[in-house]
């Protein structure tokens, strides 16, 4: 990354401490503010150290991609951002995740409240199988105590429109969500997450179970959605990261190797490891 970049990017990881962090800090002419700051996060499954001292800042209304080979900890890191990691038995974590200046792991923080602000779309489409299309989208509102039927109907429609699913299902809202195709189910899950009006949307390899056409629809949606929210997407697919994201974090064996603007990561990577991965020589 050239120091003339006017985007502020921090990239430090202790395994690569020979990097001059200060050199990477651009002049403070930030156009977008930092929405989320991951600070020295470590995560474990039992004795396995899955995420090793990762720190990075995520810009508001941007798309950030986490890339890296299988098992590099990118999904675990994602799950640390909305406090999902701690739900796994034997999982442990330390470090800070600052959302709008507030540490989500602070003692006074409420795990459910955090999840309402930070939505999530999973790798495999997982609509609630006992619920209709409408109820799937409304589930978050209803089960969080929203009673106003008109409001729920409006939010369901708006969320389905945002997830580009409305036209396909508007006449079948009371049919089961499981009756949809895989790509539609994933967009239903997206609508379900959007219905909570999250500020950040985490997407955990959202297209890995989908065919190319369904995948490209999701990618288009990511581009539209970033107008209103901040998106972090985990992907195996480097082309996808290059297409949809503005920032890319490359992880390897639990460490953050490089974090920069996507165009720099792909055209001008600073680390040999990144370059090898990008050019497809391992992974």
């Amino acid at each position: 990354m050239s120091s003339s970049s006017n985007e502020e990017v921090t990239s430090y990881s202790p395994g690569w401490s020979n990097v001059d962090v200060n050199k990477m800090l651009a002049p403070a002419t930030t156009q977008a503010s930092i929405k989320l700051s991951i600070q020295n996060v470590n995560a474990w499954f039992g004795k396995k150290h899955a995420v090793k001292n990762v720190s990075l800042d995520v810009k508001e209304n941007s798309v950030t991609a986490f890339i890296g080979p299988s098992g590099c900890g990118k999904t675990t890191l994602l799950r640390c951002i909305n406090r999902m990691h701690e739900m796994t038995p034997n999982a442990r974590l330390d470090g800070k995740v600052i959302l709008d200046g507030f540490d989500i792991y602070d003692k006074s923080s409420d795990s459910a409240m955090i999840k309402r602000r930070i939505g999530m779309v999973f790798q495999k489409p997982n609509p609630f199988p006992t619920m209709s299309i409408h109820d799937n989208v409304a589930a978050g509102l209803k089960l969080n105590g929203v009673r106003d039927k008109k409001l729920i109907r409006d939010v369901v429609e708006q969320s389905l429109v945002s997830a580009a699913l409305w036209e396909e299902v508007k006449n079948d809202l009371d049919k089961p969500g499981m009756g949809l195709s895989g790509g539609q189910q994933q967009r239903l899950c997206l609508a379900r997450a959007l219905a909570m009006q999250p500020e950040i949307l985490l997407m955990d390899e959202p297209t890995s179970a989908l065919d190319p056409i369904a995948s490209s629809k999701i990618e288009e949606l990511v581009q539209q959605l970033k107008e209103h929210l901040t998106i972090i997407i985990v992907t195996h697919n480097m082309q996808q990261a290059a297409r949809v994201s503005e920032y890319t974090a490359f992880m390897y064996l639990g460490e953050l190797i490089e974090y920069d603007q996507t165009k720099d990561i792909f055209k001008n990577p600073h680390k040999e490891l990144t370059e090898k991965y990008i050019s497809g020589r391992f992974g």
Binding site: N82, M84, M87, P89, N90, A112, M113, I114, K115, R116, G119, M120, F122, K124, N126, P127, F128, P129, T130, M131, S132, A139, G140, L143, N144, D174, K175, P176, M178, G179, G182, C189, R192, A193, M196, R281
Partner: protein
């Protein structure tokens, strides 16, 4: 960089050839082995399928012949009078088994009202709130120990002879209120129900894919609501099967009822008084030396079977009537 690429390419090619040769060798070996075993495999296949069919027939014969025998001997006596009247004088073929039907419905109903919620809730606790072997802290260990103790008690309780449970009902309730009573019977039967329902509920809930719970968490829904409206709703059929199994089991119990509701030829008078029940009635009728009593006994047995059948069917229909039907498949 181009140098290293070339180098890598050469290496790949070499190892590729090697692996291709090896794989064709293995293919040859596997082919020979499978040819050698082909006829034996076919015969084993046949034997196993025939064995399976024979076992199915073996299981159906006693079940079918019991049903046929009960219908053959019992259908003749069934009439409105038989179903609604109290028994006539001993040895005559007048009267009916009205009080026994009523008593069975009341006792089993009351037992289910006590046993089903406790059983389901304890199953939910074991599956959702005390997962086995999680965490290493003191609190987690205490929870895990507590849950394992409940599981052990459930298993022991399931295997306990029902007459023992009858004695417990007798000692704790009959002696306390000084009267054989519906309460005591329902209490004893509910103790038989609880471990069955708890176990089935726990096992069923464990089968619910975790991705559904995570989807719920990701929407910021509280754990109790996820458990009730997502997990339990998904596992509804399995939990209901457990409840129906338990109801069918207690509806046929005789031993615990002898010591708790006693049996009477009168209709229901109150929850603190004795009532009759079909299994008790069948047992008493069978031990009388009259033809007509035996015929009534067969009739009562048929009624008991029908009640259980109708109960299971209607619970399933009610449960399926509401909500949408789920297309089973990918999750």
């Amino acid at each position: 960089m181009s140098n290293s690429d070339e180098h890598m390419g050469k290496k790949d090619k070499l190892s590729g050839e090697k692996s291709r040769n090896a794989s064709s060798d293995y293919r040859q070996i596997f082919h020979e082995v499978s040819l050698k075993h082909a006829s034996r495999r076919r015969i084993t296949d046949k034997i196993i399928s025939i064995l399976a069919i024979v076992c199915v027939i073996g299981a159906i014969i006693p079940l079918g012949s019991i049903l046929l025998e009960v219908i053959k001997n019992g259908a003749a006596v069934i009439s409105i009078q038989f179903l609604t009247q109290p028994p006539g004088s001993i040895g005559s073929d007048s009267g009916g088994i009205g009080p026994a039907i009523q008593g069975t419905l009341i006792t089993v109903g009351l037992a289910s009202l006590i046993g089903a919620p406790i059983g389901i809730l304890s199953g939910i606790y074991l599956s959702e709130f005390a997962p086995a072997g999680s965490g290493k802290g003191v609190k987690e260990r205490a929870i895990s120990f507590f849950a394992n103790t409940i599981r052990l008690f459930n298993d022991v309780l399931t295997g306990l002879p029902s007459i023992v449970i009858g004695i417990v009902g007798y000692v704790t309730i009959v002696l306390a209120i000084n009267s054989f009573s519906v309460w005591a019977g329902a209490f004893a039967l509910s103790i038989i129900m609880i471990p069955i329902i708890s176990r089935v509920t726990e096992e069923t809930l464990k089968l619910v894919p975790n991705s559904l719970r995570e989807a719920g968490y990701s929407l910021g829904i509280s754990k109790s609501k996820i458990t009730l409206f997502i997990v339990l709703k998904y596992a509804k059929d399995g939990v209901l099967t457990g409840v129906i199994l338990a109801i069918a089991r207690i509806a046929g119990e005789t031993a615990p009822l002898i010591m708790t509701i006693l049996g009477t030829s009168l209709f229901f008078t109150g929850l603190t008084g004795p009532v009759d029940a079909l299994p008790l009635k069948i047992w008493r009728l069978a031990s009388q030396p009259y033809e007509s009593a035996h015929a009534f006994g067969w009739g009562a047995a048929l009624v008991l079977i029908l009640i259980i059948l109708i109960l299971s069917a209607s619970i399933r229909i009610i449960a399926h009537g509401k909500g949408i039907r789920v297309r089973t498949g990918t999750i």
